[in-house]
């Protein structure tokens, strides 16, 4: 069995890639995909520690998060389609109506 550090490293790498994607990308679809990366980074973390401690609760959590991610992707894409129909854009820097 690989030492826990490997998993943590992979998880951290995925998380950072996801965060960079969320913060920097203009296309909202890419932002959504980056959120999926973040969630999966968390999943890897949870499953790794579940194995390490022999506690199955972590894997159950991971399953819930997968279901949640699917739902979130569906809702998010729906919002994006609705928004596109109104504004003909999916670029995040053009979604700036909610400001002062």
């Amino acid at each position: 069995m690989l030492p826990i550090g490997h998993y943590l490293f992979l998880s951290l790498a995925l998380f950072i890639i996801g965060v960079i994607g969320v913060v920097t990308r203009r296309n909202v679809i890419v932002v959504l995909m980056s959120i999926e990366l973040i969630l999966n980074a968390v999943n890897i973390n949870l499953v790794a520690f579940s194995r390490l401690y022999g506690d199955v609760a972590g894997q159950v959590f991971a399953l819930f998060i997968i279901a949640d991610a699917a739902a979130e992707a569906a809702v998010g894409l729906g919002i994006i389609i609705a928004f596109f129909r109104n504004r003909e854009t999916v670029l995040a820097d053009e979604m700036d109506l909610l400001k002062w």
Partner: protein, 700 residues
């Protein structure tokens, strides 16, 4: 033995019949066919007449001293006990009650009888007029009010009828209300009558306060009502020496009531409304302004005779006003050219005769003349209406003439009435007028002389009217001439009946008439001086009788010379005394004088009050208050705007100022928010990092 019977128990139905149809006409008359209106309205007056005649018949079945029927429907006004001047308290009651005694018998028969005939006549006369149902509605309303007036058992209910007839008079004078002169005449009649009515009201109040009673008599009522009548209260007060003959308060009552009579019965100085009242349809003039309503004043004074008998001064006033009015009005009738105006002045003059009779204490003679006058004056007016009808609405006697053969029934009945009013025996007017003149002579020869001259003038102006209208050549237009026609039977039959009454109306003789009225008219005081004297004709009476026949004949002869043979030209006489003629023709300028003295001054007062209203009330008062309110609200607005709102705005401004730098954090771009979250997380972790380590270690 008190008289009883079906009709006496249903006295209240007599005024109710016309009231019911009047209400129906005024509410739903527009939807009824003309024939229905005629049948209902004439029929209701006919029923009133039948019930009145039945009631009179049943009353007459009793002994003369018991001929009183009093019926109280309900108590109307019951103020608390009143403290009397004598120290005892009396409860004065005004009820809705009816009184039938010989005096109201005469009145109710004249009103319903003549009223019925005039209603029948109106069916023909008004056939082609608009507002047919309205006319009959008002006429029936008038009948109701007049019957209430003559049947009332107390002064207040009498006043209700008094005002009711005044209202109907106003409505009917102004029947052609689109004509300015008609509506003006209606208003004039109403306003002039108000002056008289003010006197009447004060008289009623003074009676109530002085005697504690406004019922005419308590006869015919249960004993519990003991002293609730004016008659009984007066008797008690005289016996207790609380009031004596000539007491100032009685004179006051009598004069105040007479003011009311002056207004309603068109005496000097309030007669001015009656000539103008001729603007109404002719049947109205006949019913209201000749036969019934204008005699209400005479009836009222006769009804209040117990009080008048105790006030010699008031009696003298009545007599003098009456006789002066008689000659004054007769002189104006001499030169009038409108057939109805002549008759109007004649009515005023004849009413003057009646008041002369009342004033000299011959109450029965006054009522007798009232009755005969109702017959022949109604006939004269209806005849005049028939003439006007025949010649297409012309009223100027100078445009008539030669109608004798063309409208024979009208002409002959008119001639009969003229003979009656001129005082030619054996027609009705002779008996009543002669009685008045004789009784006036007994009082004072000067009164007789003025009345005597008036009799001559009456004969003259009436025959002038007859000669100008019916004889000589026709002076009408050609196309009017072609249309001359006798009136339909609905109009001529009442004329014939009234003509018959004008002939036989006086045959009962004044002595018998006086005996019939005796229970009402001479039961107040001890003095019944004239009654026995009246029954034995003296030589003097025959002399006076012959004198009045002579002067009547003289008047007729003079009129014949003037207007038939033309031996004396009226124009020549007029130009000989231009001032007199002008004075008479312009009716002594009384209307102009009243206009200048009263009407215009009242108008001036009105405009002065108007200016006062505009300047002081509106200007200083209302506008001032408005200005103050506006000034106050301006202040309040300033306070609101700068202080209240200012404070709020200050708070808001401060908030804006402080929030200014912070608002730039809200970019609306979610990536920047995500960045901020990230930075925040890193900072938090950096700061609390060792706590997390401790936490994790404890878990492990």
């Amino acid at each position: 033995m008190m008289p009883t019977g079906y009709f006496l128990d249903h006295l209240w139905l007599i005024p109710l019949f016309p009231l019911a149809t009047a209400a129906l006409m005024l509410l739903a008359g527009r939807r009824l066919p003309k024939a229905g209106v005629s049948v209902l309205c004439v029929g209701s007056v006919g029923f009133s007449f039948i019930y009145a005649a039945g009631a009179v018949r049943q009353l007459l079945s009793a002994e003369p001293e018991h001929r009183v029927a009093q019926q109280i429907l309900f108590e109307w006004l019951t103020p608390g006990p009143m403290q009397m001047t004598g120290g005892h308290a009396i409860r004065f009651v005004a009820d809705w009650g009816f009184l039938l005694d010989p005096l109201s018998c005469v009145m109710v028969l004249v009103v319903t009888g003549v009223g019925f005939l005039i209603h029948v006549y109106s069916v023909g006369y008004m056939a082609h007029e608009g507002g047919y149902y309205r006319f009959f509605g008002y006429m029936n309303l008038f009948m109701f009010a007049m019957l209430t007036l003559v049947l009332a058992n107390n002064m207040l209910l009498m006043f209700v009828g008094w005002e009711g007839v005044g209202l109907c008079s106003y409505l009917l004078i102004g029947f052609y209300f689109l004509k300015k002169s008609a509506s003006d005449a209606g208003k004039k009649a109403f306003i002039v009558n108000r002056i008289g009515d003010a006197g009447f009201i004060l008289g009623i109040l003074l009676t109530a306060v002085t005697l504690g009673a406004i019922r005419f008599t308590s006869q015919g009522l249960p004993d519990a009502e003991g002293a609730s009548g004016i008659l009984q209260a007066l008797k008690a007060a005289v016996e207790a020496h609380a009031l004596a003959s000539g007491a100032p308060v009685l004179t006051g009552i009598a004069l105040l009531l007479f003011v009311g009579a002056i207004g309603k019965s068109a005496q000097i100085p309030l007669y001015v409304w009656l000539p103008d009242a001729m603007e109404g349809p002719t049947p109205v003039s006949a019913l209201i302004h000749a036969a019934t309503m204008v005699t209400a004043g005479v009836y009222m004074v006769a009804r209040m005779n117990p009080i008048y008998r105790l006030s010699p001064f008031a009696m003298d006033v009545v007599a003098v006003v009456g006789v002066v009015t008689a000659i004054f009005a007769a002189s104006m009738a001499l030169v009038q050219n409108d057939i109805k105006k002549v008759l109007a002045y004649s009515t005023i003059s004849q009413l003057g005769y009646m008041f002369l009779a009342l004033g000299v204490g011959a109450f029965a003679a006054g009522i007798f003349h009232l009755m005969t006058h109702a017959f022949f004056k109604a006939l004269l007016f209806l005849g005049a209406g028939s003439v006007i009808h025949a010649i297409s609405g012309e009223q100027d006697v100078h445009k008539m003439g030669g109608l004798w053969d063309k409208i024979p029934i009208t002409a002959k009945t008119f001639f009969v009435a003229t003979l009656a009013i001129a005082g030619i025996p054996p027609l009705a007017g002779f008996f009543s007028k002669d009685e008045i003149l004789w009784r006036a002579f007994e009082k004072h020869p000067a009164l007789w002389f003025v009345g005597f001259v008036t009799a001559g003038m009456t004969a003259f102006y009436m025959f002038r009217l007859v000669f100008l209208t019916f004889f000589g050549y026709s002076r009408a237009d050609e196309h009017v001439e072609k249309h001359v026609h006798e009136s339909p039977p609905t109009m001529t039959v009442p004329l014939i009946i009234l003509a018959a009454l004008s002939v036989i109306g006086g045959w009962s003789g004044s002595a018998r008439f006086e005996k019939f009225l005796e229970p009402v008219l001479s039961r107040a005081g001890a003095e019944t001086e004239a009654v026995s004297a009246a029954q034995q004709a003296t030589t003097m009476e025959y002399v006076l009788m012959l004198a009045s026949i002579a002067i009547a004949t003289g008047g007729i002869w003079l009129a014949y010379q003037f207007y038939r043979t033309k031996r004396i030209a009226p124009e020549l006489v007029a130009s000989k005394w231009p001032l007199v003629y002008k004075l008479l023709f312009h009716k002594y300028y009384v209307d102009e004088i009243y206009d200048a003295m009263v009407v215009n001054r009242t108008k001036d007062l009105g405009s002065a009050l108007g200016v006062f209203d505009a300047r002081v009330i509106d200007g200083a008062g209302v506008d001032g208050a408005g200005w103050l309110a506006r000034f106050g609200s301006t202040l309040s607005m300033w306070w609101d705007k700068w202080i209240i709102d200012g404070l709020l705005n200050l708070g808001a401004k401060m908030m804006q100022l402080f929030s200014y730098p912070v608002r730039y954090l809200q970019t609306g771009l979610f990536s920047s928010y995500a960045m901020l979250i990230l930075v925040g997380l890193v900072v938090l972790l950096a700061y609390y990092g060792h706590h997390v380590q401790v936490l994790l270690r404890s878990v492990r």
